[in-house]
Symmetry: C2
């Protein structure tokens, strides 16, 4: 029996025990994990060094190596993150609906765990701790499938989790790591409907696309953010500048940074050049339509492809629009339904934009950079869903739950 099937089966069995674990039992397990990764930090750092060395040998990008690398500070941050999950409210057993039917049946809809979810991810060993502890908090078993570039770190971290769980009432089978990081094990997970209730990919667009295309297990799509700012005719110049600069520059490599700037034509005529100049001076490459290049010759001429591109870099595409309607249509056509903002003083345009833009998070007069589980006060984030089913936008603990109808009677039968 192969590793994926075997671990899937164990996880499924563990999930039934976890589903009836108390909040205290789950929190105790989290506290043990938090302590264990601190006491095991030498072992973990030693394993991590092997991954970093292998990555350097393989010539991985510096940014990727940075994502793989752990140090004492990062391990302490992980442990602190786990302690914060302890403080969050346990969503399991929350009563969502409760009614008594005319025939006397009591119908209650309660929140329950999903069961078993799989996490497929790249590099970042901290996802191992995040996913495992968020799973335990929500009564789920988890199957972790990290990448080969962090396999030593992931093994050390999961061993540490298992050592911690052995001191608790929670079975170690609740957290499974697939140690074979070949493409076959990922493919097997895509089809493990018998034991997997959900699969969450965390990583680049290519990984996410593959999982969506090949998985028969339900998937939550997290990912690409081709986010827009629309500067309307009545936008205050200083506010528009501050928001655009923040949304583009505060952290250009993340999904909630803006990639595209739409400017109402009259506002552009008056203030466009200055705004582009400010961006340009901050090191942002302007990729604009013809009218933009006419006014701002340092800009590069945009192609059709640019409107659909997530640069994740110091680049921004710029387009003039006639009005809010054109802005909404452009965003719905080229965007990835992640986060968009309108800067305007016009109440009608504001409502048109907030209602008409089909994205997980729509802003008025604020930076798109706030789309984040922690910023929204969820105390945790599994990822940011860009699909419409089950969860949309920043996902907190609730995204890892399902519901169940509990019906209590005294002999009712249907007529």
């Amino acid at each position: 029996m192969n590793e994926v099937f075997q671990k899937g089966k164990q996880a499924k069995r563990a999930s039934y025990a976890l589903a009836v674990a108390t909040t205290e039992e789950k929190n105790d397990a989290l506290l043990q994990i938090s302590q264990q990764i601190i006491s095991d930090q030498e072992i973990i750092l030693k394993a991590n060094k092997l991954d970093v060395a292998a990555g350097e040998k393989d010539g991985l990008d510096k940014s990727v190596l940075d994502r793989i690398m752990l140090n004492e500070e990062r391990i302490h941050a992980m442990a602190e993150g786990v302690r914060q999950i302890v403080t969050l409210k346990d969503p399991i057993n929350e009563v969502l609906e409760d009614s008594v039917l005319q025939n006397g049946l009591q119908v209650t809809k309660v929140r329950v765990p999903i069961g078993v979810f799989g996490m497929i991810y790249e590099a970042r060993p901290n996802v191992t701790i995040d996913a495992a502890t968020l799973a335990l908090k929500t009564g789920n078993a988890v199957i972790l499938r990290g990448s080969s570039s962090a396999i030593h770190s992931n093994k050390a971290l999961v061993s540490s989790i298992h050592r911690a769980l052995e001191k608790t009432t929670i079975t170690v089978d609740a957290v499974q790591l697939i140690e074979d990081t070949s493409r076959e094990t990922a493919k097997h997970l895509f089809q493990l409907n018998e034991y997997l209730d959900l699969l969450i990919p965390r990583g680049g667009q290519k990984l996410i696309d593959t999982v969506i295309r090949e998985s028969t297990v339900p998937v939550i799509e997290t990912g690409a953010g081709n986010c827009h700012a629309f500067v309307d005719a009545t936008a205050k110049v200083s506010m528009a500048t501050d928001i655009v600069m923040n949304a583009k520059l505060q952290r250009p490599s993340v999904c909630n940074a803006i990639e595209s700037l739409l400017i109402e034509k009259n506002w552009f005529a008056e203030n466009g050049k200055a705004l582009l100049q400010t961006l340009h001076e901050a090191g942002v490459e302007i990729i604009g339509e013809e009218k933009v290049v006419e006014v701002f010759p340092e800009a590069i001429l945009a192609t059709e492809e640019d409107w659909g591109t997530e640069y994740l870099d110091l680049k921004i595409s710029v387009k003039l629009v006639d009005d809010v309607t054109e802005a909404i249509e452009h965003i719905n056509t080229y965007g990835t339904h992640h986060s968009e903002t309108i800067i305007t003083e016009d109440a009608t345009h504001k409502e048109m934009f907030l209602n008409g833009v089909d994205s997980s998070s729509v802003y008025h007069n604020a930076s798109t950079r706030f789309t984040d589980g922690f910023e929204f006060g969820y105390g945790a984030e599994i990822g940011i869903s860009t699909q419409k089913l089950h969860a949309r936008g920043p996902m907190g603990l609730q995204a890892l739950t399902s519901t169940k109808f509990v019906i209590k009677g005294d002999g009712q039968i249907r007529e």
Copy 2:
């Protein structure tokens, strides 16, 4: 450009207009449809006759022909169903969360339409009206892909819907029927991620399995019900008999009827034979494990396969169990996570069963036949979800909605 792509594109565009339609506009459209199918009933019945005649010629089962067949009474029932949807509360724009962050940002989570959903279904032309009107109520556009066996009826019904919509502010593009019922159009819908937000299959297990296997568009799995009743040691004999008889016999062909009966061994020793006799006399074939056949020789010996079989017929598999724990394990192993009931007077066993059984609807001392959107008071039912994501159990209007974060600020940027 082929039909599916073209209609998908039109539906997507229509969905943006529908998303901002008012409750009054949507209800007006529903009332017009309700009236139109009554005034068009001659045309509809004439088209339906073509389908029934073709079905008879093709030698379709009587039960299938009955599902295809329309008459005046059924058309009036459809029209009445649409009027009832008008009376339901519009779920769109419902505020689910609302908070003001420390930085002054107001974050509101509101209910919005899914966008465009596809419905792939067999025979039953009433699904055409159901799906179209539930879509309109929830602000969604819909792409209908019925089977060739009801194509004339479906065309007539959608023409009628379009005639009705022409009298309203809602675009006719909101309801699209794929007229080419070849396998290719279904396959194309499975991959229409660009325009489809959701795909719902309604029909036999084979159709549902195909959609789950081949679709890259998110799917809601509705379907198979291998439902169980567990008669515990302390079950009252008359209550157990009434519930088992009702759950098996009131309508054996539906998904919430029981297919399998688990009986605690001591209860069986005392009352098993009488219960099996009652079932047998009502025409139910008993398919039991060896100990069942020993006591009740009319029973057929069950094979391993029987425990996982949804008969949808006057048959029931019967197994003895040592206790509630064995019953829970058996159900979680062989069931389809639909509806299960425990008949017991023991409060501890009741809680163990309700918490431990991993099904959409778990009952105590009641028939499983109540798992139904109308019985649960939702006033409508899109289907019964047996998956855990997005919606589980009977799906009302909410299952056709998503959410969106609306964030209002006065210039906030992220530090």
